[in-house]
Symmetry: C3
Subunit: 438 residues, 3 copies
C-alpha cells in the first residue's frame, strides 16, 4: 500500500456530490433524442455553462442521418379485464426504446414476439432499444412473464416518432495553447446508473474543476448521445480535430470494480498518462488493448480520424451481470468509487497539462547543488513528500530537450507529481528551462 | 481444441495420394545427379508439367562447378567363397554416394576404413555420401559388421563418374502480378522417405493445386538437388530474384511430429504467415529462429540474396533417430501427416495470395451497417462460420491503407479466413476498396 | 559450468600483484586534493607512465570551481587529563575529510554535534567528508562513543585549507584509429579498499596490458578525484569527447560478490559488450539500468555529454555493510576477485578493439568450403576450442557489411572469441573482407 504522499491522486475532491447527481438523473427517461436528453443537459447546466446544440432530424452527418425524435407518454400491458401487469410509469426500461405506437389486443403468442426477458436473471428487466426497427416491444422480468398465461392481452404504447432534433452538450475551456484534451461521455441511456450516469457525473465535476484552474491545454467536454451523437459532433468539427492531442471516453466509472483502461487505436500519450497514474495510484487496474467495439472511441478512432483517444472504465460493459438491466441502478454505484474515478481522471488531466519538456541551462556535468542550497532544500522536504535528491538528479540528467516529464517519470519509475516537485526546484534555481519539442 | 469452423486449414484435400507417391518414389536410387533424379522428375511430370533443366558437368555456378555425374550398377561385399553379405541391390543405402569403382580383395582392417555403421542403432543402415571424396565405401548395420570376422573380403563396386549433367525440375505458375511465392524441396536423397520424399510429394500436390486456382501471385515450385542444385538455379536466375516476395523450403513433412517452422534470415511476411496459420490450426508447432545450417534456405538466405525464405518441417533434421538411416522409410511417414502438412502449406499460400491492403471508402466514423443489411447478414452467418460483427468492425477500423489483411488478422487475433469473409462483406457493400501499399 | 575453452575470459593474468597494490595504497590518507592523491599517483607511475595534471584551486570548471587543498597533520580527542581516545594517526577515517583546524575543550554535548558513529555497526568507524562544510568532525566506533561519558574533552585537529591544486593522472595509448575507449576510476577515498583501491589496481594493470598490445582503438585511462576530478577533466577535454566510443567506470571490483554492470544512459556498444562477456564468462552477474546516482558516470552521462559509458562493479555501493566504513579494508578484498575482474574487463577491451564488420567477398550462396580445405580445418580444431563448422557458417551468413562481430556473436549465441576464430579462417581463405560501417 502506498502512503498518501506517494499516491499520485490529488487530494482535491469533486465540487459537487457525484452520487447525488447520479440519483437526480436516474429517473429521467433518456433516449437518443428527445426530452430526456434535454432535461439531463438542463440539470448539468446548473453546474457548468454547457453550450447545447440541437441538430434537426434528417441532417446528413457522415454516413448517417440524424434520426426522428422519439416521445413516449405511456406504455402498458394489461389483462383484458384491465389489470396493468407492465407499466412504463413504473420503470422506464419497460418499453423498448423507439417503440412505435400500438393499441391492440394480441394473443400471448403474438405478444411473445414483442417481449424481452432475461431467463438467466429472472428478477431483472432488460434494457433494449430498436432505434431503426419500426417495431414496438416491452421488457419485463422473466418471473413476471412466466405468470402471464392468459390467451390475450391488451397492449398500449402511446409514443410518437416525429421530425425533431438530436441534442448534445459541450463545454470548451480554452488554454494557453491551441492544443486540446477531450473528455466525452454518453447521455442517451434511460434509467441506468453505472452506464452511464457515472460518466456524466464525473465528467461534469471535472469540467467544473478544470474551469477553475490555469490551463496550458484547452479542455473540451462533450455530453453526447452514443454513436449518432459522436458522429454528428465529428461531422461538424472536422476542421478542428487536429487540435485534439489527448482524448478520454468516460463510462461505467461508478461501480466498485477495479479500473480498466482501453488504449487508443494507434498508441498515444494518453495511454502512457493513464497507465502512469493508475500504476502509481495504489488502485487495482488493468490495461486493455484497443478494439473496435465499446463506446464512442469507435467513432473517434475510426481510421480517417484515428484520434488519440482511450476509454476509462471500472467494470467493463458486457462483463458485469447488472449491465443493461434494471439492476444497474443507484444501488450498484458507490459514492466512493465515483470520487476515486474523479480523482484518477483529475490526475490524468493535470499530468497532461503539465507534461512539458525541459533542457538543462548548461547540461555539462552535474551542477553544484550545494552552493544553490539544493542539498538543504532536498533534505528538508524529503519526509514531507517533496523531491528527494534522487528525483532532482533524474530531472537534471534527463532534461535534455527530448524527454517529456512523463517520459522522465516513467524511466525513473517515480510518480509524476514528485518529478514535478523536482522540476520546480530546478526551475527556481535556473538549472533547467522549458523547450518546445516538435 | 478448435472447432472445424475455427481452424484456418481449408477443407480441400490433395488431388493425389501423397503417401502413394512417397512409396512409388522410395525405391529409386537418387543422388546429386544421374538417373535417379531424372526418373523422379519424370514421375512427378505425370502430375505437373515440370520444366526440366540439365546443366552440364563443369559449368561454373557461383563459387561452385556442376559435378560429374555418378552411375552405379552394383555394389557388394562378399566372402572369399562368394557369399554376398552386403548388396546394393538389396538396399541402395549400402553404397556410399559417389563411390568410385573398386574390385579388390581387402583385409578386414582395410575394409573397416571404408565401412560405416551405427553402433548405437545396430540394426540400421546409415546414409552416407562422399560427393567430392574420390573414395569408395559401404554402409551396413552394425549387427552385421560384428558378424564379419573373416580376414579378407571381396569388394566390388561397379560405378562410373563421368561428365554428364545436373538436373532439376521447375514449374512456374504466373499470377496477375510479377510478384512470386517460391516453394522448394530437395530431390537428391536415395531411399529416404521423410527426408525428403515427403517434401517432394507435398510440393507436387501443392503445384497441382495452385495451377487450378486464380492467382494474384505467381507461384514457382523447384525440385532441386540439395545445395548444388539450389546454387545452380540461383546462378541462372539472379536477375529474377527480386520478384520473390515469399519463399518456403519443404522438408521432413511426413512424420507424425509437431510442426517446426524455421524463420527467414531477416524477417519476412512468410514468417508471419506461417506463424498465423499454425497458431490458428490447432496443431502443435514450434517457431525456430533462423540459423545458417539446414536445407537450401542456406543458399537462398546467403547474404547477397537474403531472400524472404523460411523452412517448414515436422520433426527437425538430425533430431529424430530415423534421420539419415534405413529407418527413414515409408513406415516412418504417415498418410495423415502428409495431408495435414499439405493443408497447412495450402493455407499459407492462400493467405499470401489474398494478403491485400484495403482502405475505407470513407473512413470517418463507423458506417451505418443497418441500412446496408449488414447487421442481418452478420447475424445470419455467425453460426455458419461466417464473419461476426466483431470481425467486420475490425476490418472497418483497420482498413486505413496501412494494414495488410494478415496484420489485421494478427492484431485482431482472428483467423485470416474469417477476416477475409468480413472483407468480402465490406467490399460487397462498397465500404472498403483495395489499395496498393508501397 | 562452462569449460575453459568456452569461457570468454582470456587466460592472461595481470602483470602486477593486484592485491599487493591494494595493500600498498591502503594506508595513504587520500582526499579530493593533496598529498594522498599525489603519493597514490606516484606509486601508480612506477607501473604506467601517467601524465599527472595539477589544476590550481579556484579554476572554473563547468559549474564548479577547483576547491582548496586540504592538509591534515594530526587529529585527536583526549580526556582532560591527556589520554588520547581517538587519534587520526591510528586510523585516517577518524577525522572528517576537509575538517578545519580546531583546538578546544568542548562539552560532551558540543562534541556530539561533531561526532559520527554507526549505532547499527558499533565496532566500525564510518567514512565521512565535508568538502564544502566549513566545519570539523570526528568518526569513531559507536562502542567507543558509548564509553565516553566525561563532561568535557579536549579536541585538536591540526589541518590546513589553502590554495593548492587538484591532481589527476591520465594515460593515453593511441590506436590505429582516432576512436577511443575510456576507463576511469576514482582516487579520492582514504583507507577504503574495495571503494576504490580495487578499481585503481585493476585499471592500472589494464593500462599496462593495453600498452603492450597492438590497438585498433586508442585506450585512455583516467585516475580522478570523484566528481570534481571528472568535471575538471571534462571541462579541459570537451573538444575531444566525440572520440570516446566506449567508456567504463571501474569501482568496487575487489570483493567476492557477483558482477553488477550498470548500463549507459542512452544505450551503447559497451552495454552489449559487457553483457556478452559476462554472459559467456560463467560468472554470476546482474545488469542494472542506468540511474543518475553512483560514480563518475554521473558526469560523463550528463545530458550535454551523454557519453557511452557504463559502470562495472561487483557489490554495489551502498548495498554491502562494509561500504564507507573501516570494514572496507584489505580483508574485504579478495586477490582472486581482483584477478577475475581484471580478466573480465580485459575481455571487454579485447572485444571492443576487435569488433569489426566484414562482408563476404562474394555473398551469393555458400562458398565451397571443401576445396579450400575448410572442412578439414574445422574438424581438426573443433576439440581444441577452435571454430566449428557452425561458427564458420554463421560468419559466412552474417558477413553482409551490416553485422559487427559482436552482433554476429550475440545473434548466433556464440562467444565472441570463437566467432573471431571463424572470422580468421574466413579471412585467410579470402571469403570475407573488412568494411567500414558508418
Amino acid at each position: 500500500m502506498l502512503s498518501a504522499a506517494e499516491r499520485s491522486i490529488p487530494d482535491g475532491r469533486p465540487a459537487i456530490d457525484l452520487y447525488g447527481l447520479v440519483r437526480e438523473l436516474f429517473p429521467i427517461n433518456r433516449s437518443l433524442t428527445g426530452e430526456g436528453v434535454r432535461r439531463t443537459l438542463t440539470i448539468l447546466s446548473r453546474h457548468v455553462p454547457l453550450e447545447v446544440t440541437a441538430v434537426p432530424t434528417g441532417t446528413a452527418v457522415l454516413d448517417w442521418h440524424v434520426p426522428m425524435e422519439w416521445k413516449i407518454r405511456s406504455g402498458t400491458i394489461a389483462t383484458l379485464d384491465g389489470y396493468r401487469l407492465v407499466d412504463f410509469a413504473a420503470h422506464n426500461l419497460h418499453v423498448v426504446g423507439y417503440s412505435k405506437p400500438v393499441h391492440a389486443v394480441v394473443s400471448r403468442a403474438e405478444l411473445a414476439q414483442h417481449v424481452h426477458t432475461l431467463p438467466d436473471q429472472p428478477d431483472l428487466i432488460p434494457y433494449r432499444t430498436g432505434y431503426f426497427a419500426d417495431d414496438w416491444g416491452f421488457c419485463l422480468s422473466h418471473k413476471l412473464w412466466l405468470t402471464m398465461t392468459d390467451e390475450y392481452y391488451r397492449v398500449d404504447i402511446d409514443s410518437e416518432l416525429f421530425p425533431g432534433a438530436l441534442t448534445y452538450g459541450e463545454l470548451f475551456l480554452p488554454g494557453e495553447t491551441p492544443e486540446e484534451a477531450l473528455v466525452t461521455c454518453h447521455i442517451c441511456h434511460p434509467s441506468l446508473a453505472n452506464d452511464n450516469l457515472s460518466g456524466i457525473a464525473v465528467a461534469t465535476a471535472l469540467a467544473m474543476r478544470q474551469s477553475c484552474r490555469p490551463r496550458r491545454l484547452g479542455f473540451r467536454f462533450l455530453f453526447l448521445p452514443a454513436t449518432i451523437g459522436a458522429i454528428t459532433w465529428l461531422a461538424f468539427n472536422a476542421s478542428r480535430l487536429n487540435r485534439i492531442k489527448h482524448g478520454l471516453v468516460l463510462t461505467c466509472v461508478g461501480d466498485a470494480g477495479p479500473f480498466h483502461y482501453k488504449q487508443s487505436r494507434s498508441g498515444a500519450i494518453i495511454d502512457q498518462a493513464v497507465a502512469h497514474v493508475l500504476r502509481h495510484s495504489g488502485d487495482q487496474y488493468e490495461i486493455m488493448p484497443f478494439n473496435p467495439y465499446g463506446y464512442d472511441e469507435r467513432q473517434f478512432c475510426s481510421p480517417a480520424f484515428d484520434l488519440p483517444m482511450g476509454c476509462l472504465m471500472r467494470s467493463v460493459h458486457g462483463t458485469f451481470p447488472e449491465y443493461h438491466t434494471s439492476a444497474d441502478n443507484p444501488d450498484f454505484v458507490k459514492p466512493e468509487a465515483l470520487d476515486q474515478s474523479y480523482a484518477v481522471v483529475a490526475s490524468v488531466l493535470d499530468l497532461l497539462d503539465a507534461n512539458r519538456t525541459y533542457v538543462r541551462t548548461d547540461g555539462r556535468g552535474e551542477p553544484q547543488l550545494g552552493r544553490r542550497g539544493l542539498y538543504r532544500a532536498i533534505a528538508g522536504q524529503k519526509e514531507a513528500g517533496g523531491a528527494s535528491q534522487m528525483e532532482l538528479l533524474w530531472v537534471l540528467n534527463l532534461a535534455d530537450g527530448k524527454y517529456s516529464l512523463l517520459e522522465m517519470a516513467d524511466r525513473a519509475e517515480i510518480p509524476f507529481r514528485r518529478i514535478q516537485k523536482a522540476v520546480q526546484l530546478a526551475l527556481d534555481a535556473e538549472l533547467i528551462r522549458e523547450v518546445v519539442r516538435d
